[in-house]
């Protein structure tokens, strides 16, 4: 693992820088550390930092950029006529990469010698056979240009790796030298090191921003790609969801409306279960329960919040579904065709949301000032009159915010609907019928075997961006309401 070795060498250089910098600073003060501006350790850290940060940074950037550059140049080498009908350059490039990896592995395993592997006149059928013999995964689609490209790929990667090693080492050396040279008695090492640490802290804080940017960019790029292959109008207005299984577009109808309907229907069922139970629990816990009861009941409800969603999914599929079937199924009322349905998923999701609604509402009810309750009790109101006519109206905006947050949770929930709701997209009002949701389809479109360039897979990104916008909108709105509400009583 040469990368590992390179890292170790850089670290060793930096460690040397640490020791040298510290010693040099001490020496410049005649061995009396009180004469220094900063503690000796800061001089060492300065040298260490100046060596490690640029070198490792360069290495990471190089590793990120290198495949992009190389692939671009390789892609230019492959004539357009070589791209098979119905495929694209991306698929061919992954073929090239796989072949190059195969060649590498074969060389490492000693089946091929370096010379044969990079022999420009090698015949592709012969090479394919040799690779297969070496136990490397290659397809039959290796053609002469692919083999050439793979060989070029290997060559460029190797020389690029070489260049990178040299560049990184030079940068590390220069950094160490600079840091050590700086270490004199008047150098303000602590300030410099603290600047460096601050930069690291800022970088860490911006990871959150980068994540959002990453989410938005990946959704947008792929969605644009999807809309090039499939008309956006159809996506937003078709009442049918029927992807063709050929994976080549054409006959697919990819309308989001049935999925949105399923999502909203299931969320509504979930909220109908969760909101009354959660809200009454919160009222009881905050207004009636003795500290003892509260101390037992509240953590018990919160256990429900700590249970992973896969458990609720399984509970829906294997417990709620059969239970509903025995009442509403063919042996009962006959409304239900199978265990998976809007109700199945909705009830499980409702149970999941109970603690969410109750703990948010609990916080919000507790934020209503005691003086309002006193005012009401002082007029001779009972507890329930006080709660219904004073506390709840005062807490209403906050509770609405909490319900919206719960709705956003329900819309984004995946595992429960994947297991409990069914796979058929349907526009129906019967809650005992199987329907499917946006999240369930994202999973099924991206976990199948269809390749990522087909509209059937890319549609998942369009679904994803819809989901993202929907939940983000709900969240921003709900957080805004809750914040406004809190300000009112602060």
């Amino acid at each position: 693992m040469p990368l590992l070795w390179l890292t170790i060498v850089v670290l060793a250089l930096s460690a040397a820088g640490f020791i040298l910098g510290r010693q040099r600073a001490l020496a410049s003060a005649g061995g009396n550390s009180r004469m220094l501006h900063s503690l000796p350790i800061y001089y060492g850290s300065n040298a260490f930092m100046k060596s490690v940060v640029p070198a490792i940074g360069l290495m990471l950037i190089w590793l990120l950029v290198q495949p992009l550059v190389i692939e671009n140049r390789i892609a230019e080498m492959i004539p357009a006529s070589e791209v098979p009908e119905g495929s694209n350059i991306g698929l061919l490039m992954s073929e090239v990469r796989r072949t190059a990896d195969g060649l590498n592995n074969a060389v490492v395993a000693g089946v091929l010698d370096e010379e044969t592997a990079s022999n420009a006149r090698a015949d592709f059928t012969d090479m394919t056979q040799r690779l297969k013999d070496a136990g490397q995964v290659v397809t039959n689609r290796i053609t002469q240009p692919v083999l050439r490209a793979a060989q070029a790929y290997r060559e460029m990667s190797a020389s690029s790796n070489m260049l990178m090693t040299i560049a990184v080492l030079i940068v590390a050396l220069l950094g160490t030298g600079w840091g050590v040279m700086q270490s004199g008695r008047d150098f303000r090492a602590r300030n410099v090191v603290e600047q460096g640490i601050l930069a690291i802290l800022i970088a860490a804080a911006s990871v959150a921003i980068l994540t959002t940017v990453g989410i938005i960019l990946s959704l947008i790029f792929n969605t644009v790609e999807f809309f090039r292959l499939y008309p956006a109008v159809d996506f937003f207005t078709l009442l049918e969801w029927a992807p063709s299984f050929s994976g080549r577009g054409g006959a697919s109808s990819l309308g989001i409306l049935p999925l949105l309907w399923g999502t909203i229907y299931i969320s509504i069922v979930a909220l109908i279960v969760a909101v009354p139970i959660g809200l009454y629990s919160a009222i009881y816990l905050s207004e009636y329960a003795s500290p003892r009861v509260r101390g037992i009941a509240k953590p018990m409800l919160e256990i429900l919040a700590g249970i992973p969603t896969i458990v609720y999914g399984l509970f829906a599929l294997l417990t709620i579904g059969p239970l509903l079937m025995s009442v509403f199924g063919d042996n009962g009322v006959g409304w239900m065709g199978g265990g998976r349905s809007v109700m199945t998923a909705g009830i499980a999701m409702g149970i999941m949301l109970i603690p969410f609604v109750s703990s948010l509402s609990d916080d919000i009810i507790n934020a209503v000032p005691q003086s309002l309750r006193d005012g009401s009790y002082g007029l001779g109101a009972t507890r329930s009159e006080t709660i219904r006519q004073v506390v709840l109206p005062a807490a209403l905006p906050g509770i609405v915010g909490a319900i919206l947050l719960a709705a956003s949770r329900a819309i984004g929930e995946t595992m429960i609907v994947v297991l409990g709701a069914g796979a058929a997209a349907r526009l129906s009002l019967n809650p005992f019928e199987a329907m499917t949701t946006v999240t369930a389809k994202i999973v099924s479109q991206l976990t199948g075997d269809s390749d990522f360039a087909s509209p059937e897979a890319l549609v998942a990104f369009a679904l994803g961006i819809t989901l993202f916008v929907l939940t983000l909108g709900l969240n921003v709105f709900a957080l805004y309401i809750v914040r406004k509400y809190r300000e009112q009583y602060e």
Partner: protein, 451 residues
């Protein structure tokens, strides 16, 4: 008082005794009691659901920890296993599991006949329904490791087929067997006869906890061990990445960030990221880590990175809360003796906030451990948890699954025998989660400081 006309006091109310409530008060009291009942009912329903959930998990899952085995003495026939007779390991390896299957079936048949059990099942092939398809591989592995055993009769404890196992666990019922092409009523009679002899025996199943996933038709051999290792490596990645990044980000936002637009943006951003559906993080992982960076699919490293991004907001929010709880007087005291702002934070504030940070991190890890949806998108699903990794690098980079993804995979399979394993997997997953949360609670109790 400027009021010219003081309104005449309205007709004086009838003086009612305080101890004798009037009709209206009684009605109000009844309404009060009703409302209180609604509250009790709300709590009771919530707790009822919790109990139903736990009962169905424990009730349906404990079966996975037991498995039915067949104790048979297999004659390792040299004529079949080592035709050349020279015990050459290479030759022995060439005999596939198909070579072993008849030997095991013969052995079981012999056991049946030796014990004089009356059964219409008299052919070797009739035994097939009793024995797990992985039994042959089990025997073969033993023979390859010890070629000297060939020619001897060796006692084996082999897996019974999933139907036999189901019969012992009441999953497979006699009345359903008629429609089952994998097993007949005669087999069940035979099982009944073999149980008192100790040939068919249900015992604790360690392989479920330590073993690997198995193919769709061999539910009896599937275990969650390898995906547990996958989960472990992912948690390692999450811990190594999320803790330092989360703490660093929190320190910056709480202690150093100037109050301006950009900081506001980051704050709003973190609050909203915490509520982004987890599946969206899966999409991010798929397109950035796999499509763009070409990191390997299904690798715990990538899974860990996705879960890191997902748990980061949780960790940042809880870390900031515990930093905020450290009173400003501590910072002032440090600054007052000439420490720099950075020194006051790292020497004084951070150590005091450490228990809170740790608690938040454990809770974030627990959340990540139970998360499934994003893992499905980066390919940690399907029959991939088949081999335990042999080094740290392969643990991070080789395709693996994770506990919740493995449970999902089992839940999708058609054979009901897998449902039991899915519940069993959930028991193990919950044991991990309960342990982590208990540690978090203990940490909080032990180190909580009121200022």
């Amino acid at each position: 008082m400027t009021e010219a006309s003081m309104p005449a006091p309205s007709a004086p109310r009838q003086r009612v005794s305080l101890t004798a409530p009037d009709a209206r008060t009684q009605k109000r009291k009844a309404a009060e009691a009703r409302f209180r009942m609604y509250g009790v009912a709300g709590i009771a329903t919530g707790i009822f659901f919790l109990i139903v959930l736990l009962v169905s998990i424990v009730g349906s899952g404990t079966g996975a920890f037991q498995q039915t085995f067949l104790n048979v003495s297999v004659y390792l026939d040299p004529a079949k296993l080592d035709k050349n007779g020279n015990r050459d390991p290479a030759d022995i390896r060439k005999v596939s599991t198909f070579g072993y299957t008849p030997l095991i079936q013969d052995a079981l048949l012999k056991q049946v006949q030796d014990n004089g059990i009356e059964t219409p099942l008299e052919k070797r092939g009739d035994m097939k329904a009793m024995i797990s398809a992985s039994a042959a591989a089990q025997v073969r592995d033993v023979v390859i490791d010890n070629p000297d055993l060939i020619g001897e009769t060796v006692d084996f404890r082999i897996l019974a087929s999933s139907r036999v196992d189901g019969y012992l666990k009441d999953r497979v019922k006699r009345e359903d067997v008629a429609r089952d092409k994998n097993i007949d009523a005669e087999h069940l009679d035979l099982v009944d006869a073999l149980i008192p002899l100790g040939v068919v025996k249900k015992t604790f199943n360690m392989d479920f906890i330590t073993g690997a996933d198995a193919s769709e038709s061999r539910a009896e051999a599937a275990g969650i061990g390898v995906s547990m290792i996958g989960s472990f490596f992912m948690m390692l990645v999450v811990l190594v990445l999320a803790l330092p990044i989360g703490v660093a980000a929190s320190i910056y936002l709480e202690e150093f960030a100037p109050k301006n637009r950009i900081t506001d943006l980051i704050e709003v951003n973190i609050a909203n990221l915490a509520a982004v559906p987890s599946i969206v993080f899966g999409i991010l992982g798929l397109s950035v880590f796999i499509q763009f960076m070409h990191l390997p699919q299904s690798a715990p490293l990538v899974g860990g990175m996705v879960l890191t991004l997902m748990t980061l907001p949780t960790i940042i929010i809880s870390t900031r809360a515990s930093l905020k709880a450290v009173p400003p007087s501590i910072r002032d005291a440090a600054l007052g003796v000439g420490a720099s702002k950075m020194q006051s934070v790292f020497h004084h504030v951070l150590p005091l906030a450490a228990p809170g940070i740790l608690t938040g991190t454990i809770i974030g890890l627990a959340q990540a451990l139970g998360e499934t949806a994003p893992l499905l998108l980066i390919g940690m699903v399907g029959f991939i948890a088949s081999n335990a990794p042999d080094s740290i690098a392969s643990g991070l980079l080789d395709p693996n699954s994770a506990m919740p993804a493995q449970i999902y995979e089992w839940a999708k399979r058609a054979d009901p025998a897998y449902y039991e394993r899915a519940w069993g997997g959930i028991i193990i997953l919950l044991i991990f989660l309960i342990t982590m949360n208990t540690i978090a609670v203990i940490l909080r109790r032990r180190f909580e400081r009121r200022w």
